[in-house]
Amino acid sequence: MEEILSLFYENREFIFLIIVSIFLGIEVISNVPAVLHTPLMSGANAIHGVVIIGSIIIMLQADPGNYYALVLGFLAVILGTLNVVGGFVVTNRMLEMFKKKSK
């Protein structure tokens, strides 16, 4: 119990940030027209690719002799990059088409 409480107290600023972000996320997309649901989902998908930063941190902090961390971290960097790059490129491709017809 005490550990949970101290976890809460030490991270109170993050918890605050989390709660504000939850409402922000809801607010920001609540007016999206149905036309843009697919690109929005795809764009959001690219944004959670930010998890790649975690994999880079692993690689930076891994001891050069720790092959378990190096191999898995390397794998995670590839997976995360796929998510980020693939996500943004696919979304851009979808939205490119919306652009064309507004001419």
Binding site: V32, A34, L40, M41, N45, I56, I58, G86
Partner: protein, 470 residues
């Protein structure tokens, strides 16, 4: 000046900037004119955060050359494969592509947890809180990964819908086992690797069994849900490293993804629990109606062409069948031909036409159909009484009158395109097969309706040829 302090400040600044670009990006993605710019801005923010992390997070030390090489190699490999896949994929296969990339993010989060758990074993103080965060990241990331891969396989047609007998009970037992094991690990502080791998296996299995029985029509909802799961997994990573960019990015997607999931459910008049617990409807209720079927009238291509050519207003209701037949370009040609003949043609877009909300708009946009011609369902329904001919192309459930008048139907209450209010209906359909919901459509027996059987693209091409001869 202290270079270390400078580096760390630049790092935090870049994270703040990235968080702002994520918020702006999502905001701009919600408006048609700015969407593309929004996506690019979020992309730049991401690039900035990644570069700053590599440069400033740790001081460079020469004996870590292998680490840096592997980071760069991973980035290059991921970029090359990701760009190739994203550029090659057909617009009709977009939903499964999103699902695939989503799975990659989930896997990334899962792997991070595996490494961090091992990290705790080699020193460092173990706290229950940190363990909870690591374990939740592992569970959610793995479920998101295996679930997304199954969704990908299903939409690609590689995996069939399969429901285990008593699947629901098995899933609940699995969940209990997962949280029981995770709870035990967190509270006891036992850092057993075999137990962690057990947790990983159970989570992966749960993802598979969770998505397996869900029908194709509900797949977009599931992908959207898994998308928000990955967002949450990323946020747990952010919590673990005290990293604001990961935290805001993850949470934003987690909450925006959840709302998007709910919006999709509303459009289909399904509750989220319904989607997760049951496969679509179940045929029991529909059987009562099937006795009283009328007769089906067919229409010849020539008659259909004449009907269209002499109409004032024509409305096209496209469905997934149009996408499968890759007929979006053909339908645009038909549209241009009819416009030349002075026929006013619009498209009535049901919110969930295609495989994802908005999917149909993307497909028609690919064929250069002008934006103002795409009417949202409400506007299309208002105009229906003045419409001479409705052309239903490869759509089924979204034009089913049972949604309005048959309380026993599984889709009762779902908003539909009310094509029966128009003067004539022509349904282009491959066969008398049922729609994704697996239920009868009495529209086909409607007195105003005539069927034009055949592959959508094929039928449209014949129509075009016939129209040119008129």
């Amino acid at each position: 000046m202290d270079t270390k302090l400078l580096g760390l400040s630049l790092l935090e600044l870049s994270y703040i900037a990235a968080s702002v670009t994520f918020i702006l990006g999502l905001k701009m993605l919600s408006s048609p004119d700015k969407a593309r710019k929004g996506n690019l801005i979020a992309g730049y923010g991401m690039g900035l955060a990644i570069a700053a992390t590599i440069l400033f997070k740790e001081e460079f030390s020469p004996d870590k050359w292998l680490n840096y090489t592997l980071i760069l190699a991973g980035l290059i490999i991921g970029t090359v494969i990701g760009v190739r896949m994203a550029l090659k994929v057909k617009m009709t296969a977009m939903p499964q592509m999103v699902s695939f990339f989503n799975g990659m993010g989930g896997a990334c989060a899962g792997v991070i947890s595996l490494v961090e758990f091992d990290h705790l074993r080699h020193g460092g103080d173990v706290s229950t809180g940190m363990l909870i965060v690591i374990l939740l990241g592992l569970i959610i990331g793995s479920v998101s990964f295996s679930g997304s891969m199954i969704a990908y396989g299903k939409l690609e047609g590689k995996i069939a819908d399969k429901a285990l007998p008593a699947g629901q009970i098995i899933n609940i037992l699995l969940l209990i086992a997962i949280f029981g094991l995770a709870g035990f690990l967190a509270i006891s502080g036992n850092l057993s690797m075999p137990m962690l791998y057990g947790l990983l296996a159970l989570s992966l299995l749960y993802g598979v069994l969770f998505v397996m029985p869900i029908g194709g029509a509900d797949m977009p909802v599931v992908i959207s849900l898994l998308n928000s799961f990955t967002g949450m997994a990323a946020a747990f990573g952010g919590f673990l490293y005290g990293n604001q960019a990961m935290l805001t990015g993850g949470i934003l997607v987690g909450s925006a993804g959840t709302i998007l999931t709910v919006l999709m459910c509303t459009a289909m008049n399904r509750s989220l629990t319904n989607v997760i617990i049951g496969s679509f409807g179940g045929g029991n209720a529909a059987s009562a109606k099937s006795g009283e079927q009328g007769t089906i009238k067919e229409i010849s291509v020539t008659d259909a062409a004449i009907l269209l050519a002499y109409a004032n207003k024509v409305s096209v209701v496209p469905g997934y069948g149009l996408a499968v037949a890759q007929a979006q370009h053909t339908v645009h040609n038909l549209e241009k031909l009819l416009e030349d003949k002075g026929v006013e043609l619009t498209y009535a877009i049901h919110p969930v036409a295609g495989r994802m909300p908005g999917h149909m708009n993307v497909l028609l946009a690919e064929a250069d159909v002008p934006y103002p011609k795409l009417l949202e369902m409400e506007d299309a329904n208002e105009a229906m009484a003045n419409t001479d001919v409705v052309l239903v192309i490869g759509a089924n459930d979204v034009v089913n009158p049972a949604a309005e008048n048959d309380p026993s139907s599984p889709i009762y209450g779902m908003p539909v395109v009310k094509v029966w209010n128009a003067k004539n209906i022509i349904v282009l359909k491959r066969s008398m097969g049922k729609g994704y919901a697996g239920i009868e459509n009495e529209l086909f027996f409607h007195p105003k309706n005539r069927m034009l059987f055949g592959d959508a693209k094929d039928s449209l091409e014949k129509l075009i040829a016939e129209l040119k001869n008129l």
